[in-house]
Amino acid sequence: MAAQGRHGGKKSNKMTALVVDDNTVNRMIHHRLLDNLGIENVAVVNGKEAVDIHCSGKTFDLILMDMDMPVMNGIEATRQLREMGIRSMIAGVSTRSMEREIREFIEAGLDDYQEKPLTMSKLISIIHKING
C-alpha cells in the first residue's frame, strides 16, 4: 500500500505503523496483525514513548493507540501528537465502553476508534480510511 498524502509523501511504498500499548499480549497480537498485512511496525509501551519516538524524527502512516497506559495515557499522547503537528491516522483501541471516556479519547484527536479485541477486519477498516 502506498503511504502518501496524510502526512506528506514518503519514498518507500510500504505502509508503517506504531503500536502503542502497555500490555504485552496486545502488542504481540497487534504486531502480528500488521505483519500479516505487510505493514512495517514498531511497538512502544506508553504514550510518552509514542511522543518521544516522534520527537526523534520518525513518522508513521498509522498509530494504534491504547487508552489506559502508565506514564502517559492514550488521550494525552494523542493530544500531544496533534499539537506537534502529527497528521498520521491515529486509531484509538480500547476496552473502555463508557461513552464519555470514548468521546474524550476521540476529541483528543483520533481519526477512528475500535473496541478491543482488535481483529483483522477492524484493522482493515482502519486502513481503508487511510487510503480513502
Binding site: D22, N23, T24, V25, N26, M28, I29, R32, L33, N36, D68, T95, K116, P117, L118, T119, M120
Partner: protein, 141 residues
C-alpha cells in the same frame, strides 16, 4: 479437543482469529501468545488475591484497574469464561460487595486454572501432531 473449547464456552471466536494469524508451517504464534498471557495472568491473579486478602486496606480502585487490564488481554485471547468472571468481580467490587467479590474471585481462579490446564495439554498435542493437525480444525459454532 479443540471443538470442546468452543462447545463448553471456554474460548470464543477471538481464539479463531488468533489461529488465523499463525504462519503456515510454523504454528507457534498461538502458543507464544498464550504463554505470554499466562505469564502476565499469574502476576495479576497474585496481586488481586493479595489485595482482596487485606480487606481493611483494600483499594478497590486499584484492584479494579488491575482487573480492567486483565480483562483486555483476556478478551484479546478469546478466553470467554475467564472474561465473564472478571466482569462479574468488577461489578461486585463496584457495588461494594467484598464478600461476593471474594467468592467470584475463586470462580475466576477455577476458570483460569481450567483454561490453562486444557490449553497446555492442547498445545502439547499440537506439538506432537505437527503442523497438519491445525490445518483442518473445525470452526466455532
Amino acid at each position: 479437543m479443540r471443538q470442546s473449547f468452543f462447545d463448553e464456552g471456554i474460548l470464543d471466536q477471538q481464539f479463531s482469529q488468533l489461529e488465523q494469524l499463525e504462519e503456515k508451517g510454523n504454528p507457534s504464534f498461538l502458543e507464544q501468545v498464550f504463554t505470554m498471557y499466562f505469564n502476565d495472568s499469574t502476576r495479576v491473579l497474585a496481586t488481586v488475591e493479595q489485595a482482596m486478602g487485606e480487606t481493611d486496606s483494600l483499594d478497590i480502585g486499584e484492584v479494579d484497574h488491575v482487573l480492567h487490564k486483565f480483562k483486555g488481554s483476556t478478551a484479546s485471547v478469546g478466553a470467554s469464561k475467564v472474561l465473564s468472571e472478571i466482569i462479574n468481580i468488577r461489578k461486585l467490587l463496584g457495588e461494594g460487595d467484598l464478600q461476593g467479590a471474594e467468592v467470584a474471585f475463586q470462580e475466576l481462579r477455577k476458570e483460569y486454572d481450567n483454561l490453562k490446564a486444557k490449553l497446555e495439554l492442547y498445545f502439547q498435542q499440537l506439538r506432537e501432531a505437527g503442523p497438519a493437525e491445525t490445518a483442518s480444525a473445525p470452526h466455532p459454532k
